[in-house]
Subunit: 333 residues, 2 copies
């Protein structure tokens, strides 16, 4: 295992310390329990938004804490759900009197621990709603998940809901928006290589030099299966076909598209993938209105990519274009 | 070789096509000869800034074309200098009547071809100045370079000079600023793995599972030598010591710091590296005023990182904080 770390057990703590040192203008990092919170939290009268999950997917979620996106993020250990006390503390820290939305990726541990965290907060009189994101069309159930996994759409949901909260939508409105986003977004991923969890010290799975895994999960959990490595064109055709037919996306639909790198795939390749995706969408009559190309929800040092399409409603572009100031996504400010 | 590509010879062209499709609001991509130019170029009365070099270092340089940074970038084939006709065409395209600055990383081919491009433009009456960036303290001469290589400081030079041009500095002022930046910035890199050039199909160099290369160049060219893999703390101590003693940086200096990923190193590790760098700078009495942590000047799929420190002058923070709108760096707009 080759990694720029000190010791496997200190990876999350030391990375959080570096994150705190780099972004003092944006966030505060609390330890015991660990959570990252907007420097100006709580924002009075604004719905707070909290997300979280296992570490190893950076910039998700901590990199999306800041004005116009998340109020707090709860990082677990690598690929391990955060604990209810983290969600409780983060929720309390961001409650500005308008309630708090939990955006939860659909993994059994995350869902359970967010529920317990919410119950602890509700017992204290806080108003909490949760929306579970489950956008991965690859498999029905998976190693850590009942139902579909929550993957790339989470990034778009955090941006759009963050903007809605910032403009003053109330908790039920922001939660309803998040549910609509979950219904209208689909993703699929693939891997050329495994990832290596520092504490494990060896690749999560074995994969032959000539093979790829299609439908991979963001923890390296199995997808649809192994195939010989295909061209970028063939990879995108396969994934786009699944995504488009699943919703289904139809001619005339307007979408936000994301081509996401899994961590070890260079940007020059991600733009080749985007080129293929843009052509495919064009041929289907699907209009890409906005896009992200880069590393947004990663799997440590995995090589590969995922594609997300979100069918947008009329006012969602305003939410997308609204100012955002986080370590991982920034514009307008 | 596992890559998300179609064929090795089409990597640059297809990636540029994807880049053009993704960033129609920001840039135009011209082919034959290849260059990326601000969508609103030329900007009348503003000094134009052109950079370029081999592809494979994305987001450098094309990802830094836009308001407040570069007016154009000339991408060569992978790790191959662009040709003089690219620089000629790009320079002509961005000349708004106030002359054009070429920011050139110190590689023999780049320097020669930028010089030839400048001569072609001067023969047509254009006012062109060039500044060569040579910030890498690792080695004196290298595989592609006489003198020190140009690496991470290029990103900071493009940002600061772009802001100076945007506020109305004239060509001699912007060029003088760029030369001061080059004098006051130092970098060093390291690699845990090699990179693989698509056309070569195999790793640029061999490296044992237990080894790292310290002082690596951005094309995988040799650095100081091989060592057993060290902890992040030891890696940063080694590189920071070389960087700090070279200028030298002194107690009380204010700096912009960059921790740059080589392409395949996850963000969670880069923040561990930043944590170590921040501690070291603090112990030396060096004040980090601004920082970048992420992939800014990469080496395809190489795992590793580089560190850059730039000693700043009083008005440079204003230039740093000035609005920038590019694919790879954006704030204030």
């Amino acid at each position: 295992m080759k990694k720029l770390i000190n010791s496997p057990q200190d990876v999350v703590a030391e990375s959080l310390a570096g994150f705190a040192a780099a972004h003092t203008d944006l966030v505060r990092v609390h330890t015991n329990p660990n959570y990252i919170v907007r420097a100006d939290a709580p924002v009075a009268g604004k719905v707070g938004i909290v997300s979280g999950g296992g570490s190893g997917h950076e910039p998700l979620h901590g990199g999306f804490v800041g004005r116009g996106m998340l109020d707090a993020a709860c990082p677990g250990e690598i690929f391990t759900s955060p604990t209810p006390d983290q969600m409780q503390a983060a929720t309390q820290a961001v409650d500005g009197g308008a309630g708090v939305l939990h955006i939860v990726k659909n993994y059994t541990g995350d869902v359970m621990n967010f529920e317990m965290g919410a119950e602890l907060c509700e017992a204290e009189g806080l108003d909490v709603q949760a929306v579970v994101i489950d956008d991965d069309v690859a498999v029905k159930d998976s190693l850590y998940t009942a139902g579909r996994r929550g993957v790339g759409l989470t990034v778009l949901a955090e941006k759009l809901c963050g903007a809605a909260a910032e403009r003053g939508d109330d908790l039920s409105q922001v939660a309803a928006l998040c549910r609509r986003i979950d219904r209208q977004g689909r993703s699929m991923g693939m891997a050329l290589t495994s990832c290596t969890v520092p504490a494990a010290g060896r690749p999560t799975f074995d994969i032959a030099d000539a093979d790829m895994e299609i439908g991979i999960g963001i923890h390296g959990e199995p997808g649809r299966g192994r195939l010989a490595v295909k061209s970028a064109h063939e990879v995108v055709e396969m994934m786009a076909a699944e995504i488009i037919s699943d919703l289904p996306f139809n001619r005339g639909d307007r979408v936000i598209a994301m081509v996401n790198g899994m961590g070890a795939t260079p940007l020059i390749e991600l733009y080749i993938v985007y080129n293929e995706l843009a052509r495919r969408c064009h041929s289907e009559g699907i209009h890409i209105e906005r896009q992200l190309v880069g590393n947004y929800i990663t799997s440590l040092d995995m090589a590969g990519c995922s594609i997300t399409l979100l069918k947008i409603e009329p006012d969602w572009l305003d939410l997308w274009d609204a100012p955002v100031h986080t370590a991982g996504l920034r514009w307008g400010v």
